[in-house]
Amino acid sequence: MDVTVTDLTCRRGEAIVLEGVSFVLPPGRALALRGPNGAGKTTLLRTLAGLTPPVAGTMPDPERAAYAAHADGLKAQLTIGENLAFWAAIFGTGRAEIEKAAMAFDLGPLHGRLAAELSAGQKRRAGLARLLVTGRPLWLLDEPTVSLDRAAVDRFARVMRAHLDAGGSAILATHIDLGIEADELDVTVFVAKSDATLRDPFAEAVE
């Protein structure tokens, strides 16, 4: 199923950040969001994830998406195994997915460790494993490789490729090159003009 986004207007807090975002992403493809800091990549991803309702435009049902942000959604007081098992239960997937995810990110040795006692990169690996556990076809990734060492980045690229080959799709924001073949979308094109950044309902009323 294509991911079709048309004329999406995205907001963050009280400001309108992006306007008129449109693209089509066929299954099996990845889309890399490009743009400097503050362009609106995170904003777009949060909107697609259904966390911030769009101001205008159409986008696919967030029910199909899995989101990985800066915060990993791991509970510090639970072990990695418990964390993954929790998300699997919530998303209604099973033991098979957990094992696949743990294998893919080499979490075997960390299985019984508390998330609080992991290094930044180890935590991030567990956070990415959560994506596999959700079993959702559309991945929304916000700087997924932060803190990962080279080996882990390669691992992640392999997982991504497998996901795409299986007909999944992914939209990712990143500043570094992952070595994955991906369409590019330059977010700067859609940045809202500054007079539109605020839809102030009282603008004409006062002046």
Binding site: E14, S194, D200
Partner: protein
């Protein structure tokens, strides 16, 4: 033309600007007449003596304090359902007025309580329910001022207002259940004329009408202020984001 047209900010500003002097004038007139009449041209009550005259402030302010909350409830509902920004700001504008009226009613009640009951304060159910209403006003205002994003603040305070209304009513009932009070029953209320001499009743009604109009005028005024404040907020936000 539908009523909702007035929820258009520009129309609201225009209409309210024209309306305001009239409402304020009428409020001043009615308040003055009611209070002056009540204070200087009514006989003294045989039981309460001179102190009965505080009723011309006490009852109207209490009346407005209660009904201000219901006005906020209606405005909150309009905001939640129809997303008219003016109504959200009107609810916000009404809250401090309601709080002040509550405080006025409490203070005049307390002052009156000293000669009547021999104490400034008693845990009478009526008074208690009123104090609780004051707490709801406080919470509502605190929530508004704690949240930076204006639309989110409007949403959250509206939800609070809905839930709060239910619990304010429940509290009032609970307070009645909890203590049989000293406070007057509805003996002096509007629908019970037979219990009260016309000499007291008429100026009281005038004063209540005056206070209601006063409330209306203040809400209009403060809503206009809120609209300007909101505009200022947007401008400074825009300046920051630029």
């Amino acid at each position: 033309m539908s009523v909702w047209e007035y929820a258009n900010p520009r129309r609201f500003m225009a209409v309210s600007g024209r309306l305001l002097p009239w409402v304020a004038g009428a409020a001043a007139l009615l308040c003055a007449t009611g209070i002056v009449w009540g204070l200087f041209f009514t006989p003294e009550d045989f039981r309460m003596g001179h102190s009965v005259k505080i009723i011309y402030i006490h009852v109207p302010s209490a009346f407005v304090a209660i009904n201000a909350w219901f006005m906020m409830l209606v405005a909150s509902l309009i905001w939640l359902i129809r997303r008219h920004h003016v109504s959200a700001l009107a609810a916000r504008a009404a809250a401090p007025i309601g709080l002040v009226m509550t405080v006025v009613a409490l203070l005049t009640g307390a002052i009156w309580g000293k000669p009547m009951w021999g104490t400034y304060w008693a845990w009478d159910p009526r008074l208690t329910a009123f104090l609780i209403l004051g707490l709801f006003y406080l919470g509502y205002i605190a929530l508004w001022s704690a949240i930076e994003a204006q639309d989110a603040a409007a949403d959250l305070t509206s939800i609070l207002c809905l839930v709060g209304t239910v619990f304010a009513v429940l509290s009032r009932y609970a307070a009645q259940f909890w203590n049989q009070g000293l406070h007057q029953g509805a003996s002096l209320s509007l629908d019970a004329e037979e219990n009260i001499a016309d000499v007291f009743w008429l100026p009281l009604v005038l004063a209540i009408a005056g206070f209601t109009l006063l409330f209306l005028a203040l809400v209009l005024l403060r809503t206009r202020t809120e609209i300007r404040r909101r505009r200022l907020h947007s401008l400074s936000l825009k300046a920051r984001l630029a």
